[in-house]
Amino acid sequence: MDLPWQPMSFHPLLLRSGTPIYYERTAKNAIPPQISSKTNQEKVKFLKPPAMETIQSAGTEEIHPDVALVARAREGDLQAFETLVKQYDRQVFRIAQHITQNKEDAEDVVQDAFLKAYEKLHQFQGNSKFYTWLVRIAVNESLMRLRKRRTGRMVSIDEDVETDEGSMPRDLADWGPDPEQMYNQSELAEILRKTIQGLPPGFRTVFTLRDVEGLSTDETAEALGLSVPAVKSRLLRARLQLRERLSRYFRKRNGDGVQ
């Protein structure tokens, strides 16, 4: 049976975290398979905290292991807090590095965010997940670092979000089927880093939490103190801006059969 979408290619460098499959359209109006959050979670298992919904599913009394760890840490059990640190330090570092775009700042943020979380554990109400609460602290610490680096100029997640860029796509060129083969792994990583660096902090942060860290829209809104519509609006524009900027590198060129 002919499927409306056929897998095109994958690249070995991406296999460590799952196989991204690109699709070419074989039926004119078909929509490619969805990027479901579940699929993403499987792909980036190495990147992410435990999937909360699998542990604390609706209608059950099952409690996320973090709850017990937080309770023990509150009672002064440093080993319990150490477990939380080891569970989330990579994610906090990555979020901080995405926002600050500076390795030293990101390392400082990891230390300050966990220390602040430890000091304020008694304030953690448990209404949200510990990880979401920790992300909120880490984002605030990261924005403070960014402000310091910009010689005291105020930096917030609202900065530059009023731009029209990304609201409608302008680059209409399709990409080649194998951008991963046009660049080696380090070149590709550099392109991705440079591209996301160019986004305003407000877009960069939303994109990082939603698409890199895999938080839900609700969790992202909670972590950033934004409304759900604001998160959705920023996410769309962040995705489109990144797409537009990546097109400069990945668009089909003469000889690829297009243009």
């Binding site: 991204p20 690109y22 220390l115 990409w175």
Partner: protein, 77 residues
């Protein structure tokens, strides 16, 4: 459906947040709009690149140093 209306729903489409009826409308638009088709496909690939690439790994020695420093500070609290 116009291109603007399609773009407003692109995220919901990519995140699998559309009803069957709306999905059918979106597919109908895609059938006649190469622009929106390319935008959807390349946006999906953009997300996949960033989802699958570890751009900022935390090297193990740095990680150990940070963990030690964090716990030392916590002990003094």
């Amino acid at each position: 459906m116009t291109c603007s209306e399609f773009m407003a729903l692109l995220d919901d489409l990519l995140d699998d947040g559309v009803s069957a009826t709306l999905r059918a409308d979106l597919e109908e638009h895609l059938g006649g709009c190469e622009h929106c088709f390319i935008t959807m496909n390349t946006t999906k690939r953009t997300i996949e690149f960033y989802t699958n690439q570890e751009l900022y790994p935390l090297p193990e020695p740095v990680r150990t140093r940070l963990q030690t420093a964090i716990l030392a500070k916590c002990r003094k609290c």
